[in-house]
């Protein structure tokens, strides 16, 4: 089924993609798409953790569950070796521009049929141009109802393309991404909140990484020099490795992030 031989943790009970061409290209695209989805889930989780700085004390159970999910993704990425690749890829690209990222589970309003979106994208305008680029194996068997389609081979993950109930999110087609290394400090900050009040998250990301593992710190310094990549450069790098091309957000963009997050989270 997956000639690339990558260990699959999602044993899909449903029928897997029967019409997938079992070629090396397809397999590579599959695993790339899977990694993109996983990356997006990671982004989403990190954003959720970020939102914890509200007026009322956040729900500890929810934060713990999200943090565990983040750890799980991290572990898997480390096992796959993609973690290393990601850090390396980022270390080669300097940039100081914010790269938006599309969050998983959101249907692109421009297209009716759901399509997986790369983890890191340019701002809204260029987004649509990506749609065709990413190889969409799962689209070939999009369910009759667009809402119920998905990537069956990813098992429960497949629901990513179902956004019937997220009508308000359809307006939102760009997303600032959250960099990886934030998660560790986020976790700290989230749980730390319950101990003693920490100063509100300083948008200056250096502070966030002050007590993070060295490995994360490397990623962070790398991210600070975000790549000045064009959209197609991004995709090429993605096809090689599910690199997180998102860059650390700039101070001014965090307001945007908050705004976007408000919309996503809903009321």
């Amino acid at each position: 089924m997956f000639p690339k031989g990558t260990k699959r943790k999602f044993a899909d009970g449903e029928e897997a993609a029967p019409s997938e061409a079992p070629g090396p290209t397809a397999a590579r695209a599959l695993s790339s798409a899977y990694s993109l989805q996983r990356q997006s889930l990671l982004d989403m989780s990190l954003i959720k953790l970020q939102l914890c700085h509200m007026l009322v004390e956040p729900n500890l159970c929810r934060s713990v569950l999200i943090a565990n999910t983040v750890r799980q993704i991290q572990e898997e990425m480390t096992q796959d070796g993609t973690w290393q690749i990601m850090t390396q890829a980022l270390s080669q690209c300097p940039s100081d521009r914010l790269v938006a990222s599309e969050v998983l589970c959101r249907q692109d309003p421009a297209s009716q049929s759901p399509k997986p979106v790369p983890a890191a994208l340019e701002q809204t305008l260029q987004e649509e141009s990506y749609q065709e680029e990413v190889v969409m194996e799962e689209d070939s068997h999009a369910a009759p109802s667009p809402q119920l389609s998905g990537a069956p081979y990813l098992g429960p993950f497949s629901s990513s393309w179902d956004e019937e109930e997220e009508a308000e999110d359809e307006e939102e087609d760009s997303e600032e991404s959250v960099s990886e290394p934030e998660e560790e400090s986020r976790t700290e900050q989230v749980f730390g909140t319950f101990e003693i009040k920490q100063p509100p998250a300083d948008p200056a990301l250096e502070e966030l990484f002050s007590d993070v593992d060295p490995s994360y710190y490397d990623l962070d310094t790398v991210l600070m020099q975000s790549p000045k990549m064009g959209p197609y450069d991004l995709l090429e790098s993605l096809s090689h490795s599910p690199a997180l091309s998102s860059t650390a957000s700039c101070r001014s963009d965090l307001n945007e992030l908050d705004h976007i997050m408000e919309i996503i989270v809903g009321s």
Binding site: E14, L41, L60, C61, S145, P156, E165, I264
Partner: protein, 453 residues
């Protein structure tokens, strides 16, 4: 608050129902006799309903049970106010997380209500007499001019209109650093437990300035935190036993006789994970949102995101029964994760004979499962389809196969209409369902009946 008939809504065909946040019901609980039903809401208010008794009427039929079954508002009071934690610069919500009634010992009723931080004991008493004929005070309570008093009289109790008084009797504060999710009154009638995310305390009902910490799962380093307590309850008969559930889907039965700090469980209940269905969401959907002992004390009922499970206290290897509440959501977990619905905490309840279990779902649906047959039924708590005295019809979510009229598609489900809180009368087939800001009370008569309030 529970009387939606008094608050006509805007034509919601075109507009979403505009619900005042403070009116959202956050807990429902019958007392031990079922005559009283208490609801708590996000605004910190408690509304107590009392069941009407026909015996108060002019006639009684032979063989009549005596209860017309209608619940009317008995008393309303503000239990908790919003607060502010100055140390953390965070607000403390006044939302009532749980209400538990104490067993009745005299004419008054007592209940415990809690928000995130503080538990309060309230005394609910009736007054239908008042003393009249004071010597020093006149009828309005003003002091009399002593020179006008020429004789002494003994004050007499005269009947008056029924008044329900609610007074706070105890305030159990500063016991919790984290958010209280459960309270449970012990069968000994003297103590109760309160559980937050990381700790469980045991209190004596008469002592407010100290409590015993009986469970503490806080790690030395908060970064190592991976599991929290989600619910806890005392055993209905054994005053030394209690159970608590975790976010990892485990149950721990603890025996307070073993040690003062029950960090070490007496029994750990855990279902082995099915490696085939593992996903990034496995842990989240395994998190237990509610745990309830059966009335017999022999079983425990738990609710996780997709299922309700019955556990035998003697069997820790796994549940003895598993009921699918809304399995059709399994393929939508990612969306539900994004909109946070996956973190919704549904409650579950037993019926009086432990033969039926009930839990809530989305789209104003709730599910009942008959343990003997294993069959489940879907019902709806929705104003439009429930007229007073109307028979509740069963609903169905369409998941494939032959589509029947009235079936609801998975994509049409309204995830904002969640049935999280509910209660079952301790003796009869009467259920109270909280649907956002509305309270529905359904009864089962000889001919299945239902009415809304």
């Amino acid at each position: 608050m529970g009387e939606d008939a008094e608050s006509p809504k805007i034509n919601h065909t075109f507009l979403r129902d505009y619900v005042t946040e403070a009116d959202v019901i956050s807990t429902v609980e019958f007392n031990q006799t079922g005559d009283l039903l208490a609801t708590g809401d996000k605004g910190g208010r408690v509304v107590i309903f009392q069941r009407e008794t026909e015996s108060k009427g002019d006639f009684e039929e032979v063989g009549d049970t005596g209860d017309s079954g209608e619940y009317n508002v008995y008393s309303t009071f503000q239990s908790h106010e919003p607060d502010f934690d100055y140390l953390k610069s965070l607000e403390i919500e006044e939302k009532i997380n749980k209400i538990r009634w104490l067993p009745q010992q005299n004419a008054a009723h007592f209940l415990l209500s809690t928000n995130d931080k503080t538990i309060k004991l309230w005394k609910v008493s009736e007054r239908d007499k008042r003393p009249e004929g004071y010597n020093l005070k006149d009828e309005e309570g003003r002091l009399k001019d002593i020179s006008t008093i020429t004789s002494l009289q003994v004050p007499v109790l005269k009947p008056t209109d029924l008044m329900v008084e609610v007074r706070p009797r105890r305030v159990f504060a500063n016991g919790h650093t984290y958010h209280v999710n459960s309270i449970s009154v012990n069968s000994d009638g003297e103590t109760y437990l309160s559980a937050d995310d990381l700790r469980i305390n045991m209190w004596h009902l008469g002592i407010t300035d100290r409590s015993f910490n009986i469970v503490d799962i806080k790690p030395a380093n908060m970064e190592d935190l991976t599991e929290v307590i989600t619910a806890s309850e005392f055993h209905p008969h054994h005053c030394h036993l209690f159970v608590y559930s975790s976010s990892k889907g485990t149950l721990r039965l603890c025996d307070m006789r073993a040690s003062a700090l029950c960090d070490k469980h007496a029994k750990l209940y855990e279902e082995p994970e099915d490696p085939g269905s593992r996903s990034f969401f496995s842990e989240i959907i395994s998190s237990v949102s509610d745990v309830k002992f059966s009335h017999s004390g022999r079983y425990m009922l738990t609710r996780d995101y997709l299922t309700a499970k019955v556990w035998d206290l003697h069997m820790d290897k796994g549940p003895v029964e598993t009921y699918q509440v809304h399995e059709y959501l399994r393929s939508k977990l990612c969306s539900l994760y994004e909109n946070d619905c996956i973190f919704d905490k549904f409650e579950c309840v037993w019926n009086s004979s432990d033969s039926v279990i009930m839990t809530g779902a989305y789209n104003s649906f709730f599910r009942m499962f008959d343990r003997e047959t294993g069959r489940g039924v879907t019902l709806e708590a929705w104003r439009e389809s429930s007229k007073p005295r109307a028979v509740l019809r069963t609903r169905r979510v369409y998941t494939g196969g032959k589509r029947r009229r009235g079936d609801v598609g998975v994509d049409s489900l309204d995830f904002t209409k969640k049935i999280l809180h509910m209660a079952w009368h301790p003796a009869e087939n009467i259920i109270a369902i909280a649907a956002t800001n509305n309270l529905y009370i359904f009864q089962d008569r000889v001919n299945p009946d239902a009415h809304t309030q």
